[in-house]
Structures are given as C-alpha cells and as structure tokens.
C-alpha cells in the first residue's frame, strides 16, 4: 500500500526539492507524517509542535481537511493523496 503526499513550496528546502513523495505502510495521517519526518531531516519542527500540527498548517486527505475527519488519526488507504498546505490564504 502506498499514499502520495504533496509537499508545499515552503517545505521543499528540507525535502531536497521534492514536491511529491510516497509513503508506504501507513494507516493514518499521523503515520504518513511520521514517515516523512523519518525521511526528511528538519521537517517535523516546521509543521509540528508538541505532537500536534502547528496552527497555520492544513492537511487534507483527498481534498478534505483532516479537521473534518479524525485529525491525525484519520485513516488512509492505498492510493490516497495527502496534501500539506499553509493555512494562510484567502479572504
């Protein structure tokens, strides 16, 4: 099983320019992010704080904000697309 993750421009200097990557063996959004933290040094501090996402970080699964689902416990399935974006836009 494999989940695709879309990485925003703000994080690409810690992902060696990767705009998209895949994480295998993850069943929740939290585990997907853990997979990214293992792979990319310095990523965790950018988007997480005290075990939760920073307040201006939005994460979506299949276009739905995870705050409308189960947050970091939101389950992911093979082929899902997880998107990380800065919350500061619009209005």
């Amino acid at each position: 099983m494999s989940v695709t993750v879309k990485i925003p421009t703000q994080l690409r200097n810690v992902t060696a320019g990767d705009a998209e990557t895949t994480v295998d063996e993850a069943t929740t959004v939290g585990e997907v992010l853990d997979g990214l933290y293992d792979r990319y040094d310095g990523l965790r501090d950018r988007i997480a704080e005290d075990g939760d996402l920073r307040r201006f970080v939005n994460v979506y699964v299949g276009g739905e904000d995870i705050r409308f689902l189960d947050g970091l416990d939101t389950s992911v399935e093979d082929g899902d697309e997880v998107t990380i974006l800065p919350a500061v836009a619009g209005g």
């Binding site: 974006l85 500061v88 836009a89």
Partner: protein, 411 residues
C-alpha cells in the same frame, strides 16, 4: 524615503525580502509587511494625504511601495455618512456608516485589489488570479481589465448570479468550482505553487491585505483626524477586521491621531461563524465549519486570520457576534430604511450585529460608532425578494384611490 521595510512572520518574527510570499518557511505563520515610520514627519504626511489623489494612493506613505504606483482604476475614498436615524432607532448616540458600495466594483475589495495588482505588476506578473466569494472576483476581473492583465477568477459554484455576471463581463477567465470557498482556496493554494501567477490572496496576500488599512485611514481622516470609539465590521477571513486596527495603530504611532484604539466588534453569520464560536468558547484557534448562510461573501469556513481577529476583539474589549439569516434580512432592511444605503448580505450581518449590541446595552450613549458596510445590495437581490409588497393598478386615478384608500382619504 519610503517607510516600507520587509515581510515579517506574525508568529515567529522571521523576516523576508519584499517578494511574492505569504507563509513563513519556518512555521507556516502569516507574513505581514513591516514599516519604519521613524523618519516620517507627521505634518508632511498629513499634507501629502490632504493634497493627494481621491483614491487609496493619498495614503501612499503607509503602503508597501517605494513610490506610489500608477493604477488605471481608482479605489477608495468612500463616503462616511452620519446615520442619525439609524442611531435613533437603536437608541444610540452617534453612528456613522462607511459605505464601501461606492467603490468601482461596489465593495471594499477594490482597495485590496488595487494594491495587490500594483504589487503583482511590480513583481513582474502578467497573469493575476484569486479565490473569491464574489466581491473579490468582481474587483480582480475589473482591475485586471483596466490594467491590461490576464486574469483567472475562481469562485464556488453556488455563488449569487449577480456576482457571476458582474465578474464575467470584464473578460476574465471565470472558473466555477464544485465545492465550498474553502475548497476553492485550497485549489488556488496548490495552483499558486505550480504557476507563475500573482494570486492576490495567496502569494501576494501580504500586500493585498495592506489595502484594507486605507479604510481605517479614511475613517480617521473623515472624522477630522480623530478615532471612533467603536468599529463594527464583518469577519470572513478576519483580514479586513484586523487591518483596520493596524491602520489606526500606525496613525497613532505616527501621531496623526491620538487616543485609545477603538473597541472592535466582529460580525459573522450564524451559518458560518467559526470566529464567533471560538471567541465565545474562549479559544484562540478556530475550528473550521462547512458554511450554510445567505451571507455568501462571508462564507469562509476556515478563516486565515481568525486567531488575530479573536485577539483584537479581546484586547479592545469588543467581541465577535453572529446573527441568523432572518436577522441578516432584517439588518439589510433596517439600514436601507434609516440611511438610504442598500447593502448586500454582509452589510445585513454587520447592521444586525450593531442592533444586537445596542439591544444588549453594550454600547455607551456617548460612543461614536462606525459601521463598516462592505458591499452593495444589488449583488445579493435574493435576500430582499419578497420582503415588501408592490401594488399593481390600472392607470387611472380611481384605481389608485382604491389601492391607497386610507392615504387618499386623509390627504
């Protein structure tokens, strides 16, 4: 010498050059333009304002440019109307209506767009774009047309027809997205990373937001360089609400006005009130909602500046209130009947919240209150359809006398 300095993260203080960038690389916090006003002479600034053009550019000393840009479509300098009949109806002392419907595309969005497009051009963009609940769509399409820029305007599919028509007419690429505004916003955030476009409320957002400060400057100037005691203003993303305060704060810093920052009351529709709910619950972050309200221009379920709007309301002793769709319709009627100003649903929200504050006794009898009416009633006609009766008669005096029997007898 221009006072504009840099972009600075509101969360962690990291600084960046004045480029197309809206979120902090380190913490994702919002970036805001900073200025150094220490070299700005108060009297000189006042003279330049009073001798300046009848547009937002009269406040160029406080906008993010080295020198005032030339723009094709003027925005700003809307009337501040003393609303004695509204005040009397609500049992208040002094109420002023800032009527933003007088802008070129009939909402306050002309202010932010004129600044955003000037910056987008300065940064070299040939295509501009936005995610909009309607008013911004009108403004981006119009100002892009006037400036000769190509534009893409993204809106939720359920938008009012008036706002769709008043956007497409300018020859923009109008994109209707099957989803809520928050879906549109997410899409635009993703597109902004892929395209070399100036998205006014994504990568150009720090400059765009600066345009809202001009509303505060204007209110202060129109009151004779004085501050009001209270501002009642709609809250969608919270950007306008917080930037009005920033505008007043800057003028206090420079010495153009004196006294305390006004009390700030935010207005939301109950069907989309994440900021009011967080305020009520004593939280400093907003839980996003799925909007369901007739006030579509305020239907942002995930407000970017929500935490700062809550903070502003708290530290000025104000609040964030919400009103029902029925109250919104009544608010539109109340404003129209007492001031002659016909506002869209967002203005109905704001007027209804003013009425609520008055009823609750939150507003002192000696207070000078400014009601920020952000847009035009002709854009949301459905909100008033069926709210009054039209008499249909044959073209005879008899028919008229029959229809208006009571009036005819008494005259």
């Amino acid at each position: 010498m221009a006072a504009v300095e840099a972009l600075e993260c509101k969360e962690c203080g990291a600084r960046y050059a004045l480029e197309a960038r809206h979120a902090c690389d380190s913490c994702f916090g919002p970036l805001e333009v900073t200025y150094d006003f220490s070299g700005l002479d108060r009297e000189g600034a006042k003279r330049r304002i009073q001798a300046g053009p009848a547009s937002v550019w009269r406040y160029a000393d406080f906008l993010p440019f080295e020198r005032p840009p030339r723009t094709a479509l003027a925005a700003g300098v809307s009337p501040l109307i003393r609303a004695d009949r509204l005040a009397e109806r609500l049992g208040l002392g002094e109420v002023w209506v800032k009527n933003e419907a007088s802008n070129p595309t009939h909402s306050f969005k002309d202010r932010v767009v004129t600044v955003a497009l000037a910056k987008a051009q300065e940064l070299g963009y040939e295509v501009v774009a936005c995610a909009s609940t309607g008013n911004l769509a009108n403004a981006v399409a119009a100002h892009a047309a006037a400036a000769g820029l190509e534009s893409y305007v993204f809106v939720p599919a359920d938008l009012e027809e008036q706002k769709i028509l008043a956007t497409g007419v300018y020859g923009t690429h109008l994109v209707s997205v099957n989803g809520t505004y928050d879906d549109v916003n997410r899409l635009c955030s993703e597109l902004a990373a892929e395209r070399e476009w100036g998205f006014v409320n994504v990568n150009v957002r720090p400059y765009y937001a600066e345009g809202s400060k001009t509303l505060a400057y204007e209110v202060a100037e129109q009151l004779g360089f004085e501050l009001p005691d209270r501002v009642v203003c709609p809250v969608a993303s919270g950007s306008l609400f917080t930037k009005i305060a920033r505008g007043f704060e800057e003028w206090r810093e420079v010495g153009l006005v004196e006294g305390d920052l006004p009390t700030f009351n935010g207005a939301q529709a109950e069907g989309c009130s994440p900021v009011a709910q967080a305020f009520e619950a004593g939280l400093d972050v907003c839980k996003p909602v799925k909007p369901s309200t007739i006030a579509k221009s305020l239907a942002i379920g995930d407000p970017a500046d929500g935490p700062y709007a809550i903070d502003l309301a708290r530290r000025t002793g104000g609040g964030i209130d919400s009103v029902t769709d029925d109250e919104i319709r009544k608010g539109i009627g109340l404003l129209a009947e007492t001031t002659g100003v016909f506002t869209e649903t967002a203005g109905g929200v704001t007027t209804a919240v003013l009425a609520k504050l008055a009823e609750r006794g939150d507003i002192g009898a000696d207070e000078r209150v400014v009601l920020v009416i952000t847009g035009e009633g002709l854009k949301t006609l459905d909100a008033v359809r069926g709210s009054f009766e039209t008499r249909v008669i044959e073209p005879t005096t008899t028919a008229f006398a029959e229809a208006f029997q009571r009036e005819a007898v008494t005259s």
